[in-house]
Subunit: 117 residues, 2 copies
Amino acid sequence: MPLYAQLTRAIRFAIATGRLRVGEQLPTVRQLAVELRVNANTVARVYAELERSGTLETRRGVGTFVSARHLDGNHHEEHEKHLQELVDRFLEEANAMGFSVDDLLDQLQSRRKKEPN
Amino acid sequence: MPLYAQLTRAIRFAIATGRLRVGEQLPTVRQLAVELRVNANTVARVYAELERSGTLETRRGVGTFVSARHLDGNHHEEHEKHLQELVDRFLEEANAMGFSVDDLLDQLQSRRKKEPN
DNA sequence: CTACTTGTACTACCATCGTAGTACAATCCG
DNA sequence: CGGATTGTACTACGATGGTAGTACAAGTAG
């Protein structure tokens, strides 16, 4: 998995689990780049993408921060839509492999007990 | 989505839904290539991959056929394993987006009523 | 054996993607 | 204003992936 995708996922996860809170500042593009031994541009792209999707806010000369936008109602609806799309892709793939919705449900339910997220 | 992936999926689907039965012959590599306006090699790669995974059997000079192997017990176990892997990937992605297993279950269950596969 | 049909190996080309390098622009702060 | 800090645009390079072209190999059928 490419670096930028890993980073995106990591930040999203940190926010989703509360390890990064609304308003909190993220490391500077360059700081994080050095720390991760990655080009500054790669970090910048991630920040930019997350800004487009409304999870971050960036102010030049200051830094990048966790946006509050993903708490309002509109964003919740969008989030729901993303879940639906994810499930769509999932179903399609499973379908091509010959699995039914019920198969998936069974499998998921057995996970629920093992690793309750 | 690349041609070879589309084709793979289509064949898998056809077999899973019974539109292609065990023992039945598939079009020749070249036939299908012409029909789909695709290079013969692309079709060949798909056939080869499906043979490796045990869904097809190929006999030079004769043709390619739907294998019976995917009906036996071993293959069922493998199939199960693939399902687990698929669910793993799915869970990881959903997790990175901040969804819990329960969210997914809800979403899936609402699908079950609408499009019963 | 020979002609024909089948799948296959090898190669090369083109597009796309991911990343890095460098130079630029906006903002802050003294 | 002017230096420092922030994010950003542009470019280029390397790697990978997908497809096509061509030539080959294995098997069948007469």
